[in-house]
Amino acid sequence: MVVEISCEEVWREMSNYIDSEISTELGARMEQHFKGCQHCKAVLDGTRNVVRLVSDAAAFELPAGFSNRLYQKLTRKQPKRRRQREK
């Protein structure tokens, strides 16, 4: 008999489930839960997509000089915010 598991428990173990770092018994309980719970299945699919995107270096290739431009922009914004706070 597959023992029930709650959405809260599923969310806690989601990352370990994706990495196959859980027991066979817990894996079976989570799989049973995903069959009946569209909400958790959506969270699982979303998390898997994020993991895939982050691990794909090509998806995050930044244009040349991006870091420098970002730093300059942030430095320019900082005093402006301070001035607003002083008002």
Partner: protein
């Protein structure tokens, strides 16, 4: 086995009792006296609830092959008392032939741990689930409130 796991086991037993059409197995998950506020039915209390539930389930299992899918959202354990809530998706297939009927209820139940350390349901309530919607959606007035208002108008 911690309390959270024990309640999960009891809830799995609840599911299996439905899926095997076994009334005694189902009642073994409930306390000897409990409160039953199932949707569309009068409320029953104490050992009356036990008797009514037995008779109701026996009739259901006689007429239908039942498939229950349980989705527990959360279980909260507070000492010897606990509660859980979620959804029950029930599919009834008529034994005499005919199309299956599927319904989905939102449920809430509370549990008590007895002197033997077993968790039993002592309160049950549910209502029919409604399709999900975004928070800014234009929601209709629930039918039951609308009917009540119409009846009130008639009396005035």
């Amino acid at each position: 086995m911690n309390d959270l796991y024990k309640i999960n086991v009891a809830k799995a037993e609840f599911r299996e009792a439905y899926n095997t059409g076994n009334v005694n197995r189902l009642l073994s998950v409930f306390a000897d006296e409990f409160t039953d506020m199932s949707a569309g039915l009068p409320s029953f209390f104490g050992n009356t609830a036990h008797a009514v539930f037995r008779s109701r389930m026996a009739k259901l299992f006689q007429r239908y092959q039942v498939t229950l899918v349980v989705t527990i959202i959360a279980i909260r354990v507070l000492g010897n008392t606990a509660f859980d809530f979620g959804w029950h998706t029930l599919t009834l297939t008529p034994k005499g032939g005919g199309n299956p009927i599927t319904s989905r209820q939102r449920y809430f139940e509370s549990w008590q741990k007895n002197s033997r350390g077993e968790w039993k349901i002592d309160f049950y309530i549910d209502n029919m689930d409604v399709a999900p919607a975004m928070p800014d959606a234009v929601l209709p007035i629930p039918q039951i409130l609308d009917q009540g208002a119409q009846q009130g108008k008639g009396r005035a």
